[in-house]
Symmetry: C2
Subunit: 149 residues, 2 copies
Amino acid sequence: MMYPANPIEHLQRYGIKPSPQRIAVMDYLLSSRVHPTADEIYTALSPSMPTLSKTTVYNTLKLLVEQGAVLNLGIDDRNARYDGDTTPHAHFRCLKCGTVIDLYPHQVEGLELLNHKQLGNLRIAETRLYYMGYCEHCQNTANNTMHMD
Amino acid sequence: MMYPANPIEHLQRYGIKPSPQRIAVMDYLLSSRVHPTADEIYTALSPSMPTLSKTTVYNTLKLLVEQGAVLNLGIDDRNARYDGDTTPHAHFRCLKCGTVIDLYPHQVEGLELLNHKQLGNLRIAETRLYYMGYCEHCQNTANNTMHMD
DNA sequence: TTTAACTTTGTAACGATTACAAATATAGAA
DNA sequence: TTCTATATTTGTAATCGTTACAAAGTTAAA
């Protein structure tokens, strides 16, 4: 659903100087589509980048979000989850296992109607559509607990 | 936009035994439409209910959300914000002053199309639509900072 | 009343995130 | 190259919203 873009080009497109740490974080977000938390990113990158600090992951994510290169999804109460795909799409979170899944316009009837630039007196900069429910796996499983809710 | 329902009836409709503290929290959520944080609720109720504990506010909000009597809006990264109106509507948050505003179906074209019960293999229990941008006041003000973002 | 169940309360803990200042790396000028 | 200013990264300590826990208080039914 995404062309796994070059992380360096992606960073530069948003005016971010590509350091090794930033490239690693951006690359992970572009290739992994699991909408990881900061901690999950740190854990994933740490082995291949042993000097990486968790603060750097937080700093980098903050910068990426500020510059619009990455989305900070507000779909999970517990932690921030990040998405490297900035094209318009919605998200689903499973209330049982916590998995977050992308939903693209062709999968959600009515999605393309929502990108209002103005609503009454309000100037709109960003639109977020979240669905919560049960994924296929958790519908078919009596007991399943990864990270509950 | 809401009939400020009786808090006791509202609690009972959702199977919650109405204690004085629960009534106070529910009443505040039904009448104040500012989508308060737990702390704001505590601060607002504390003067007229001096023995109230902040833990009780958290406990009560947790119960109300679990029972579906109240919505925990995920629209604000910093704190949870609560909404006593459980009818389908969207929310807007101003990126400058932080105000959260209700958007009812007649104000948002396409909103009523989104209440899918099923999306592919996913069973949907809840839908959330958030808009972020600048409210009328903050569009017309050079410098305005309540709680920044 | 007595008793069991429920509710509230205050304190202490938790955990995600941020502040801060020192250490390191980078890039351009000399 | 070497120097120097600037940007970046790092580790530790702090912050702050929220939750755990256990004691105290309340309620309602027997």
